[in-house]
Amino acid sequence: MLKHIRTNWAWWLGLFVALFVVVFPIYVMFKYSISDRASIITGGMYPEPLWPFHPTTEMFEYLLSRDDFTVAGLISVKVALYTVALSLLLGTPAAYALARFRFPGYGVLLFSLISIRLFPDISTVIPLVEVFFNSPLSRLPVDIQVALSHTLLSLPYVIYIAMGVFETVPKDLEEQAAILGCSRLGAFLRIVLPVAAPGLAAGAIYTFLLSWNEFIFSYYLTFTSPEGTTLPVYLLRILNWTPQKNLLAALSLVISLPVILFTFLVQKYMRAGLTAGAVK
């Protein structure tokens, strides 16, 4: 429901300020990423220009020429996709059971989901790496290792989101399927899942964003890995190596671009995912 507040100058000013605060850092990132050397190394003789003197794409070209960058990009994509697949595979059946059935221990399971959200990643990661490094898990490829850890983070959210979706699927459909001869599992696979699929996309997108942006687990599991690392950790590696603004900005932009596009293309699903568990 929309409120037709009388438009006034305070509202316009607020909107302008808000847009500026949100957009300016993104603009700065973009501007630096196409900056030439003179635009970032000023020696204090002149201010850094708000638009580069000679816009260039050389930093992007440089990044693409680096093998460790393409490897990091590939790892990030793979980790995100594995995480999405694993989270949906594990999460949707559990969410369905929680949405449709009441059973002894129901409250305990829901409570455990909420409790898990209280664990800070930085606390979880200490014992987690000890477990990973001292077990056969360490022999898995890094992308699998990281995806396994990301699933720990995304799974509770996916379950929340999917529960909400399944609650909107009419029960009649499953009852009809049962009368027509489907087993419970059959009704879930053939009827409920296809009907819920668009809603579950919210869970998939949320999980993809979470994994793509995740830093702490990737950092602890892969910072020194010879196999390579994910893009956010790669950004930190570069930051530790050089403060060169146009390189950092170009890399930042490359990491951000896919997710910025997400916000415009699949905004509806993003909103559903972001507020899962918070809005009834």
């Binding site: 204090g44 209280l118 950092l248 905004q267």
Partner: protein
Amino acid sequence: MRRRERLFLMLMLGPAFFYLLTAFGLILFQMINLSLHAGPTGELYPSLGNYQEMFSSQQFREALVRTILFVAVATPAQLLAGLGLALLINKEFPLRGLVRSVFLIPIAIPGTVTAVVISMLFSYPFGHINDLLMGRFDWFPQLIRAPINWYTSEWISLGLAIFGKVWRDMPISMLILLAGLGAISEEQYEAARTMGASGWTQFKLITLPQLVPAISTVLVLRSIEAWKEFIFPYILAPNYPILGTLIDHAYHVMQRPSYAAAIALFLVALIAITTAVLNLLLRWLQDALVRA
């Protein structure tokens, strides 16, 4: 039939909860176990040495105070920022969908990237903010005589970390509050207007009271996330650790996983307790408001 139903439930719930509960059970067990290994190389076991060291450490106490400050500032700031955005957007205007998408961008961008961009804006000695304050742009007066190294000031670097956190997470608060605003029907405002209520009176008497549940949700969820914060202080306030970054410091710099585990466990307990208390407090407050 009953047994088949039970089997079906196990099949559906089993994998996810087995995965989550064993992992977090193991993590919690290992966290406790690890934290009981005291001494420089963890040779004393079991021992509360790490905890004794932690509570007597100046660094730890400072980090705790900073963490509390971080939460105490970032949480209400996120509420206000989110409320501002929600009120701005909860209104029909051209390109509303586009503006809402733009307001969602911060949450989509990785925190690492945001922190790096902020660090570039506030770089030392040359950077946009130093350039601005030094009067290097012709359209702005000189306010300082020498460039400021923002990262050697405890308050400024923590402030930047808080700014980054608030900037990145405000879309979530916005969405929760927008949902709350959406639940208030236009008729209520129309009814209020027919009774002659001004804009401010409408906000105070209609919007705010009905937004209390959404506000509570924002406060609880956002405070949890603020306690858990790592990346912004890690990149923007490396010299002034909060608990999260202190854990990393203990692990990576001091090379003492068991000491890191002790702080990690303390942080978990702290979050659990404060969240429970905040929840109770808000519920009590809500009840009090309803009765009032």
